[in-house]
Symmetry: C2
């Protein structure tokens, strides 16, 4: 292992710091770990023959998520993208509307807006949380929108801005007080994209439970996985009922009749995936503890590396430490690609943040505010290996 104090390139120091934590093996960014009842529940599910749309694991997974997150209702669905689609639809997002979302997010947030026939409207992000900058957004909305009949109208496009979808980036809670005040003051339906933040809390309350609805993802790269999966969280009984209804083809209950009363979706989570979810959720506290330990080791290792810092959870927040993130100082931003190359070449998977949404071909014409914060961040963020199982492999 390299001596951290020897004069060396930033890249060498970063590789050395990473190796000091994760050892000499190759490491991916995030891999799931199945060390609980996964095996047992899958077998139980298979033996019951109820692997599909009917079965007790879906009900149980929803109940377990209610207990874990504190949301009053949870509807399990096929993935986080579907959860967002339906949450936006039930929030009233219609064709020709606009929806505020961060430019710094995974494309699913933007795609879900388009599935409703609406247009994403991109918002800047702040250094402290990596999430939307509520102060800057308020200022922007004051200048560029007006209220008409209780609706927020974009003065430039004339369209209704119907909803606002902040996202808890890499598990770090967004400035929810600021975000909720903006949603309230400008009459925007608040839907939290909590795909990355299962196990993250803002002032002691679970992310995804502050807005009208929140959405989770259980994709394979997330803290817990169901293979593919997602969920809608809400405290509103009628929204929950409706979400269940439209995600299960909007069929009315009947012994044999197939009557559907609106256009629905096949978005329900199969029972076999929920079986995996039940076991994974049992492991979540253990995994979160392991991920916090990993964070602390990285923090110690990077304390001596100048020009770069490890992202820490915002004040009054508890982050799930989903993806550990290095933040380059502004002067080092030009080193990002070299760092990515050196780390990946040496078997340590690292990744920059996503390309900002407004730079992607399908979204280049969408409305947006000044994105200086997100533009600066995206040049300086590097995700590093973050699996809960990483420390176990160090000898």
């Amino acid at each position: 292992m390299k001596d951290l104090n020897s004069p060396s390139l930033l890249a060498d120091q970063v590789v050395a710091a990473l190796r000091s934590v994760i050892g000499q093996k190759a490491a991916v960014l995030h891999e799931p770990s199945f060390s609980g009842n996964e095996w047992l529940y899958l077998k139980e599910c298979l033996d019951s023959t109820f692997v599909s749309s009917v079965g007790k694991f879906v009900d149980r997974f929803e109940a377990d998520l209610v207990a874990y997150t504190g949301a009053r209702y949870v509807v399990a669905v096929v993935n986080g993208t579907a959860a967002l689609h339906i949450a936006l639809k039930l929030a009233g997002v219609k064709a020709e509307d606009e929806v505020l979302i961060p430019a710094l997010t995974f494309i699913a947030t933007a795609n879900a807006v388009t599935y409703c026939g609406a247009t994403p409207h991109f918002v800047d992000s702040e250094e402290r949380t990596l999430g939307v900058d509520a102060v800057k957004l308020r200022d922007y909305l004051e200048q560029h929108t007006e209220q008409r009949a209780g609706q927020c109208i974009n003065r430039t496009t004339g369209r209704v801005i119907r909803a606002f979808v902040p996202m808890h980036t890499f598990g770090h809670p967004v400035d929810l007080d600021g975000v909720m005040a903006v949603a309230h003051d400008f009459n925007l339906a608040l839907v939290e994209d909590a795909a990355e933040s299962l196990g993250s809390y803002y002032q002691g309350r679970h992310t995804g439970t502050f807005g009208l609805m929140g959405t989770l993802s259980f994709n394979g790269n997330k803290t817990i996985t169901t293979g593919g999966g997602g969920a809608i969280l809400t405290d509103d009984e009628e929204l929950a009922r409706h979400a269940k209804h439209v995600t299960t083809t909007a069929k009315l209950p009947h012994a044999w009749e197939y009557r559907h009363d609106e256009i629905g979706y096949n978005y329900r989570m199969p029972n076999i995936n929920a079986a995996l979810g039940c076991a994974q959720l049992e492991q979540l506290p253990t995994m979160l503890a392991a991920k916090r330990e990993l964070f602390q080791r990285y923090q110690a290792a990077f304390a001596t590396v100048s020009g770069i810092r490890l992202m820490v959870e915002p004040a009054q927040c508890q982050s799930n430490n989903w993806l550990q993130t290095l933040v380059l100082e502004h002067e080092q931003a030009n080193q990002r690609d070299a760092l990515l190359k050196v780390t990946n070449d040496s078997g340590i998977m690292t990744r920059p943040a996503w390309i900002l949404m407004h730079e992607l071909a399908p979204f280049q014409e969408c409305p947006r505010m000044d994105l200086a914060g997100a533009q600066s961040l995206v040049q300086r963020l590097i995700n590093i290996p973050s699996s809960s199982s990483l420390l176990q492999v160090v000898s």
Copy 2:
């Protein structure tokens, strides 16, 4: 067991005939059977930790489906509804288009059309196949459409009829010669909804491989299941590539960059569901044989019941016998609901065909041709227990 020859109501005779085949136990309409490598592959998948978007079972399931169906390319997706959505989108279906689909189908066919922003246009069905009546449809199109610049224009609405989606009802192949000729002559993209017909052949060729694209479903009620799942079949390399691309968020391959070049979907099949699919597909020949045997037993049992017949596979076709279907004679149509009640009350699950699409609230205003054939059929069809495992439980 009742004596079939004693004078009795039709309902008593039907129950007796069903009981003579399935025994005295309660029976559901269709349940999956896991008697092969399901468990082994699930375990292998879990142990590999690749349960989600990456993993060898998805590739293998696709390859196995290529081998089984004879389609040149197969793209596994999250369910049959998603398969239809993407097949229609790639067939060029756009907002304001119309798409011909049978009125007698499961709602997913119609929903998928609306996901493209298009309108379903309902077509009648014929007695012989339970699928679209190509002869009647040709006549209708001749009277109500005209060709303009190689497009089929609905004279009444002025809209383009872009595509045609016949469906192989309960596994029985539609009149593919008639259907293909209509699609060809009227410039309609042909997409086969083969959700119900895995293992069904028309003149020796697998259903779903005749159109530009075909779609399968592996929902829990289908012949084989992946929990939830579907697939797109096509012989067109570029369509297959594009289908894979848009069903996996349209991300361009890169070691770390997240660049997406169009609006995509999270429609990929998780690896854990594909693991189940690989094992189920190995069992398909055995299941099909068991289902054929069940058909033959039902046929013998119902030979002596007058006023009702068992649906048989159309000429030159091999049906997968997905759902066994009783067809009431016209004079007995008024007995359908009594039969449904008596059978369900005695623990034998039966079901009528779906309510016709144009009678459902979301589709009442959609264009349609005369639907006399479908209307008559829907009053006379009753699905009866059809699981491949049914005969094994008879003592």
